[in-house]
């Protein structure tokens, strides 16, 4: 059972509440799932750093009672990489938006994945640029509307899971805000995983994506997620080019490969250095 009643207050930075997120936004559910993961893993908050980029998801670090960095658009993984290398004992959690990770920061995203550095990326995918008021994102499905694709977009949507897998991420999962139990399960799995973990979570943006595309309010959008996602492996139901076109969810990869800070420690020690991962 999901731990609905657990006391997550110690994990949150109360002076920053309420959040900037709109009523009905899925991002609060994702942040809650991160807090739940920290609680389940019994992590010492002094050794956790939450980072974010720019956009709605980027505000996540403000709400955690940890050291935190709200960085620049798309480039949060560069900061996280430097931080993790400087202090490998930290648990580093990175909140990114779909624009953050797949547009302006796609270059950083693939290289962090390639290095397999021990970071946990939670990719909040709401299919649109929310903070700036509803522009087309690299995840906006073809033919869907945004303020910059007012007649329907003609670009195909990017698949974050495919990209992460291709780039070499060693823990790759996707779920939705409907999947209340899976969110903390996958995020905890990513945090425990000794390597680069990417958990994409499909989130609803009723304010822009929902309104511009007549998808209804949050409950309807969440229901849509439920109806248009299938567990990975059930290939017969997968179609990619419409809204969440029966998108596969689940854990796509979970494997151990050499992790960056550990490899660096080996290299340093072989050269007589005392770097420890």
């Amino acid at each position: 059972m999901p731990n609905v009643g657990n006391d997550l207050h110690p994990y949150l930075r109360h002076q920053m509440m309420p959040t900037v997120w709109c009523p009905g936004c899925g991002h609060g559910n994702i942040a809650r799932a991160i807090a739940t993961s920290l609680e389940r893993l019994e992590l010492d908050l002094g050794h956790v750093v939450v980072l974010g980029g720019i956009g709605c998801s980027g505000r996540t670090p403000f709400y955690f009672n940890t050291n935190a960095m709200h960085t620049t658009h798309g480039r949060v993984l560069a900061f996280a990489t430097g931080l993790k290398l400087a202090n490998p004992s930290l648990t580093v959690i990175v909140a990114m938006g779909d624009g953050d990770a797949l547009a302006i920061g796609a270059g950083h995203f693939i290289h962090a994945a390639r290095r397999n550095i021990d970071l946990t990326v939670v990719l909040y995918n709401n299919s649109i640029y929310g903070m700036t008021g509803g522009q087309q994102a690299p995840t906006t499905p073809r033919s869907f509307r945004s303020t910059t694709s007012p007649f329907g977009g003609i670009e195909p949507a990017f698949d974050a899971v495919d990209l992460a897998l291709a780039a070499g991420a060693t823990y790759v999962a996707r779920t939705t805000t409907f999947d209340f139990a899976e969110m903390p399960e996958y995020i905890s799995g990513g945090i425990r995983h000794p390597g680069f973990a990417m958990i994409e979570i499909l989130s609803q943006c009723p304010t822009y994506f929902g309104r511009l595309n007549q998808l209804g309010d949050a409950p309807e959008m969440i229901e849509y997620q439920r109806n248009h996602t299938v567990m990975a492996g059930d290939e017969s139901q997968i179609g990619r080019d419409d809204l969440l076109g029966n998108l596969p969810v689940g854990i796509f990869r979970q494997e151990i490969r050499p992790e960056y800070t550990h490899q660096y420690a080996e290299l340093s020690q072989a050269q007589g250095g005392d770097y420890r991962a």
Binding site: R13, Q15, M16, D44, L45, G46, H47, V49, P61, F62, N65, T66, N67, A68, M69, H70, T71, T72, R75, V76, L77, A78, F79, A80, T81, G82, L83, K84, L85, A86, N87, L90, G107, H108, H111, Y264, L267, S268, Q271, G272, G273, D274, Y275
Partner: protein, 380 residues
């Protein structure tokens, strides 16, 4: 004594300053800095990482600084342009770090192997918004060593990104230098962060304290107050932090400003120069003196804050000033503002990838002086 390349002097100066983190991206003519760091840091327990671009390089540097390391990067014009975003972030978040820019001809790809001094204004004003800045330069390999080391001290004292401007020639030039025996300074540790303030104020006038188990610092490029709070009407508090940082630099102006005088005591004609150009300017002073022109040189090693008080005090006693620089007129702008009509100022610029010869500078000084003398005699 040891024969050291300019880029190598950056590495040696940085290590002497306790630098233990380098993130970079290859670029001519700064690449040797990165290559040397890649060789030297692992065995010292430090961290070297090659990032995917210059934006990432400076981002990693800032992350590492909050992680408790002394971090730097180095680049050249095109990379320096990319780094402006994170120079602004480092300024906004008061993150100490050092950025070396070995200048080459621009704009854009320009001439990668040819020297320039065209990033002087970008180093001060390249990121959007206002910010405090310390920008220094060097004219010899020994200077490069000293100024790199000094840059780390200032970065931590004033909590800002310090920019060291070199150029393609200085980076690749080799000179014999005496390397002082140094013991690297101790790094900030989590013990330094024990802080009983309530509420804890990690920004503003507070010394830099990296993340530790005792802190709950929130670092953001959003406008914020001294606690890091970004909510509500933080505009005035954010402006105040900026104003305090700028005043701090003003108050310490004398401590920060580095310059050299050459044959200035009785000089009537002043050459102001900096970086690689100052070497030719010094020789130009000798040429002018030999031909009976009482010239002197003020070599600036700190470009920003612009040393206007020093410039002004000397400008009162000379008849004219010439500022040669490897751009088409950049530092001459704040110079004119500082001199404010005390005497005529002429710029001498080139941006073709070649250095000035001493003769060219001497000739320009003579033309400048003749023009002024004609004007004076005309008015007399």
């Amino acid at each position: 004594m040891r024969l050291v390349q300019g880029n190598e002097a950056v590495v040696l100066g940085a290590l002497a300053a306790g630098c233990n983190f380098y993130a970079g991206y290859p670029i001519t003519p700064a690449t040797e800095i990165m290559e040397q760091m890649a060789r030297m840091l692992p065995g010292r327990g430090g961290v070297f990482i090659q990032m995917e671009d210059e934006l990432a390089a400076l981002g990693a540097v800032i992350g590492a600084t909050w992680g408790g390391m002394r971090a730097m990067t180095a680049t050249s014009g095109p990379g320096f342009s990319l780094m402006q975003e994170h120079i602004g972030y480092a300024a906004m978040t008061q993150t100490p770090c050092v950025v070396v820019d070995s200048q080459r001809i621009g704009p854009s790809t320009g001439q990668p192997t040819m020297p320039a001094q065209g990033d002087v204004m970008q180093a001060r004003w390249g990121s959007h918004g206002d910010r405090p800045a310390i920008v220094v330069t060097a004219s010899s390999v020994k200077d490069v060593y000293d100024m790199t080391q000094q840059s780390f001290t200032w970065a931590f004292t004033y909590r800002l990104p310090v920019v060291l401007l070199l150029d393609a020639v200085l980076s690749h030039m080799r000179e014999n230098i005496e390397l002082p025996a140094v013991s690297p300074p101790s790094l900030p540790t989590s013990a330094d962060s024990a802080d009983s303030e309530d509420p804890y104020k990690p920004f503003g006038n507070h010394p830099f304290v990296p993340f530790s188990a005792n802190t709950r610092t929130i670092v953001s490029g959003l406008a914020h107050d001294e606690t890091g709070n970004t909510r509500g009407a933080v505009g005035p508090a954010s402006e105040q932090i900026l104003r305090d940082s700028l005043s701090h630099l003003d108050e310490d102006y004398q401590k920060i400003t580095r310059h050299r005088n050459y044959r200035l005591e009785d000089a009537q004609w002043l050459i102001i120069s900096y970086g690689i150009t100052a070497r030719a300017a010094r020789a130009a002073v000798d040429i002018l003196r030999e031909s009976g022109v009482r010239a002197g040189l003020l070599e600036l090693m700190t470009l920003w804050p612009f040393p206007e008080l020093i410039v002004k005090s000397i400008a009162r006693h000379v008849q004219g000033i010439l500022l040669p620089e490897l751009n088409l007129g950049q530092l001459v702008l704040p110079l004119r503002a500082a001199v404010g009509g005390l005497c005529p100022v002429a710029g001498l610029g080139r941006a073709d990838g070649e250095l000035f010869t001493p003769e060219a500078i001497a000739q320009a000084m003579i033309s400048h002086s003749r023009k002024i003398e004609r004007r004076v005699s005309h008015h007399a």
